[in-house]
Symmetry: D4
């Protein structure tokens, strides 16, 4: 992310994934995709200029999070799939959970965990699943799920939310819908 647009454009996780593909195995620091940018600048948490005890962190508004979730469900509906979608913030707290009509009982929790995983490592879960070839025990970290279907939402390269989808016949489809949710935030 050499140059960030003035308007703090929210990039899709797909772009991030490309950048991350060569990253060191393990958790991804927020600076991984822009090595010439200091880690501190890229973080979603910044020290408050007026009070050194305080730090500011960035997240989605509930309007934005809901808009993304609904765009996700719309994309799934167009594809004739029944899914659940979750949006979690940088702290891993669920902001939005929608269990779609006819979505399986396993889908809400799967969606939450995929979203949690994507925001934790700032990468799509399809990419993260590949890392298990080298670090198989990553998947033992509580509350994670290393299945395609999760995408990070980024601001200036740092993760500010995660979107997770579950219920389609393949994780790739799930993730396609999650990306539709991420892209809805750039419009």
């Amino acid at each position: 992310m050499k140059k960030t647009s003035v308007r703090a454009k929210v990039l899709t996780g797909t772009v991030a994934a490309a950048a991350l593909a060569a990253a060191t195995l393990g958790a991804v620091s927020a600076s991984a995709e822009a090595t010439d940018t200091p880690a501190v600048a890229a973080a979603a948490v910044r020290t408050d200029a007026q009070n050194k005890n305080l730090a500011q962190s960035t997240g989605l508004t509930i309007e934005a999070a809901t808009k993304a979730a609904q765009a996700t469900l719309d994309a799934a509906a167009k594809a004739g799939q029944r899914v659940s979608v979750a949006v979690v913030d940088r702290d891993g707290v669920t902001r939005v959970l929608l269990k779609g009509d006819g979505a399986g009982p396993q889908s809400p929790e799967s969606a939450v965990r995929k979203a949690f995983t994507a925001v934790s490592w700032n990468a799509p879960t399809s990419e993260l699943a590949k890392r298990l070839a080298q670090a198989p025990n990553l998947k033992d970290i509580p509350n994670t799920l290393f299945l395609a279907g999760g995408a990070p939402v980024q601001s200036k390269g740092a993760p500010v939310a995660g979107i997770g989808v579950a219920g389609a016949p393949s994780g790739d489809l799930d993730e396609q819908f999650a990306q539709a949710g991420v892209e809805a935030l750039t419009k």
Copy 2:
């Protein structure tokens, strides 16, 4: 739901509460508010006409549930309050969860439990809380919360969903917002 048929009318929880006020202490059977209607007719679960092994149950579509949740958040925003809202179905499964901007960390789980409680007894939680005077241990039932802020969504008198709200300075305010969500389903 511009025009609701007589037979599929979605009543607000307020109406139900009035009907339930004289009910026997304890869980409310679906027939309690219409004693001249057979219990089976008022239930949200009906045996399938074509296959005696099957039964049909009624719930909200995700579109309806989301519409109700957003109407709830809108009502809270107009009142300057920060809340979370949950919509659960008749099985107690969460269909929608929205954690509003600035809503406290206790609010999502509280909202889910109020919604669960309202749909379980088919009454607003403000009414149910009053029953504790006679049956104080009702509140020990797992996953319930006997605080104002939950309202049932009904179809033909039977509960089909529960809406729960938490985060406002009083449970009465929470429930006012939940009722705004229920009413959004009648428009």
Copy 3:
């Protein structure tokens, strides 16, 4: 169900398994086993004709679910095996749980999870276990168990329940008993 109408026929999981064998890896959409049928038609959840806010979902009556569970235990008893059996609905909620005489302490929870898994993906768990060769992390989804012994109950191709069995010396035996339970619903 002495005579099943063509349109409400309850298929055994075995038939479904054959149809699903070529399915795309991952979760199975309800339309997977009848590609010429639109997904919406095959779903167990349908929008209510009279109220667009409402949807109807199909499940087993408690009589049918109990009948299936007992047929399962009977089949196990004939084979001299001690098992537990669970029937869960499309929402993953347990409708029936029977811990057979002498069944091991691990069997009730295993039975519930197999039933949950079968209804979530609309396929026998013996089939689902094979998918792990391609998607090994599917088994990390909470509340699932990818061991033979679970079978879906279907109505018009859509899953309406899951039957799970555990406790026999092999999962294949467990699943044979679960299928006996499914078949009891077609008589």
Copy 4:
């Protein structure tokens, strides 16, 4: 309980309740209702005559437990009520769980806890709830629920199972159905 055999008599919880009414506050020892009988004789656990390392404990067969549960649901159906019923053994392990058609989402867990409570103290939960006046913290014991609706199944005065019911408009109704289940074991 039309005619009970002298030697294997299964008492209904109602009878036990009468005997227990004067008992000391707190947990009830198995000998409480028959003080002239040594505690060891009345227990459901007996040392094995041939091997001092072993003890025999008494429980219901799955056939008996299922019969009791179905009798309970039948009684509820006759009264037009929708409930869930659970049968747990002396170790507190669930042997049977049936979630009736249209029973609320709170009812299965409530039923299990009432059954657990009844078998733990060998008394109907309506009686046990009264003890809270003197020992209010009894209800803080994990997995218990001090609401009417649970009844013990006894053999020679000792508890061998508990039946719990939840979902009716009052706990007294729930317990009436539970007693119908207990009585089914004497026929």
Copy 5:
């Protein structure tokens, strides 16, 4: 925080408590203690000026949170008491947990819950405990503990963290130590 700007001043919970004493029963909105200030301005979450999808939230740096926790333990040590202390952020996530030497096994979880409760309602838990007289079921909200010993950390009137202490012979002592932690942030 040698010199606190007017607008970023971190108030001690004690001051907040005074302001809150007359508040409406129930959860406290962030604007409760300054009714002439719009709720939006007082909130710890603000919409991002450059991107309407984003909001900024305020929290403590780990340095500040650790400093507060250590000041708390120091105050306890001076009083000869053995306690645990927790600092949680506005989302209820634990930032710091210190189990002091000789502190009882119940103290870490108690400290976390007191901190969670204080930040959820933006008031000291000694004040919140008094509200139970009017709304006794507030204490049934998951993860809360209505015992003195928790204090909110505020920025511009909005809660940005909670400090909880447990282990001293009385909750009042616990809270005195928590307040010492809050005050350490103003130095």
Copy 6:
């Protein structure tokens, strides 16, 4: 412990209870029962003389803990009662758990919680239960149980373990058996 040195004497909880009766409401500091003794000296945790980073804490050997638990069961057996007994250390970790023959399913967890409560506050739970009159919310602290039946084991006035008993018809009986376990450590 044939001859106990004056300084390492293990006091029975009964003695401690007498000393604690006048204590301030709330958690009991280890120095409460001997105000002329510095808190540091009475604590079960002491800084290591040779390495300032280290502290020594005192607990029971497994032999001692088992001896106490068996003495407890023996006392119950003599009284014709069926109980479970637990011994937990100062960190609240279970060292011994024995579920006696015929003890109810609620008894093991109750015993563990009573032991945990006794060691946390260094007082018999019969005493602690009385404190609820003034501080009713103490009982909401996780893992505690404010029912008679728990007794602390002390060394030099500081708690080094807790013994909890459950299953007898009254908590007073349970606690009598727990005290028998404590006393076994002085012989």
Copy 7:
């Protein structure tokens, strides 16, 4: 139990392991190690001769279970190892738990799970771990642990208890100590 072997010998798990080595993959039916004996006869649960509703199940007395656990700890002490040991009954309920001096914090729960696993499949966990080569997902069954260190206690071929040990440098050592516990029951 029409005719019991003269000494009602409790076989060690080692013998059972040999018999089980050729068993079908999966859970082991109680008849596996004695194919000429009907499964019903070998079961630890028998229908009561006098009341068809009742069944008798066999377990260890608390004296026997404690004796076995102590023999296990003694064997570990002789080998200079620090371990925890658990004895669970056929229902998977813990009867005895001893955390030895210096045993690691992971050892008590590991011991319980090994004991649970051994009694569930009526085989030593060292044997069961080998089965994972063919059925790798067996280890996903809740509450199990497929590591050497667990041994079943049998009566007439049926499992009546499980002994689990954890904490030694290898599972083989753990299991050797568990077998010492089983053997103590034959003396």
Copy 8:
């Protein structure tokens, strides 16, 4: 650890790892790395010289534990990484938890589990992860995490605490920071 310094020097886990590399597969007894030292002498738990019922165990003071945690965060900050750090005692109880600024939501629990794992087996988790090649099911033990990032704190060869770190792009980095924490205790 051939020769331990008189002053109970706290060795870094790195040294221990070297010694442990050739150890028997499985849990490591405290004597494994110094076979010429009796196990009893190397243990962190010693029988009390004055009272045979009592044993002394060694742990870190809260000052030492906090110092180590802060040194860990400092090392991470110098490397531009955002991590969480936990210090647990020999009983697996968390003494210190610090969630660093910008550390991912998965990091606190990961840090706790790595610390727990390191202190349980008295080895760095990078070494323990290698053992999975031979004993893959070790990672199924509850509360463990076999990922690099955990280091034991030792006194006289016995584990007295564990430090765990999570959040850096690789587990090796995490462990480097954990070792910095361990080393801070030797200064």
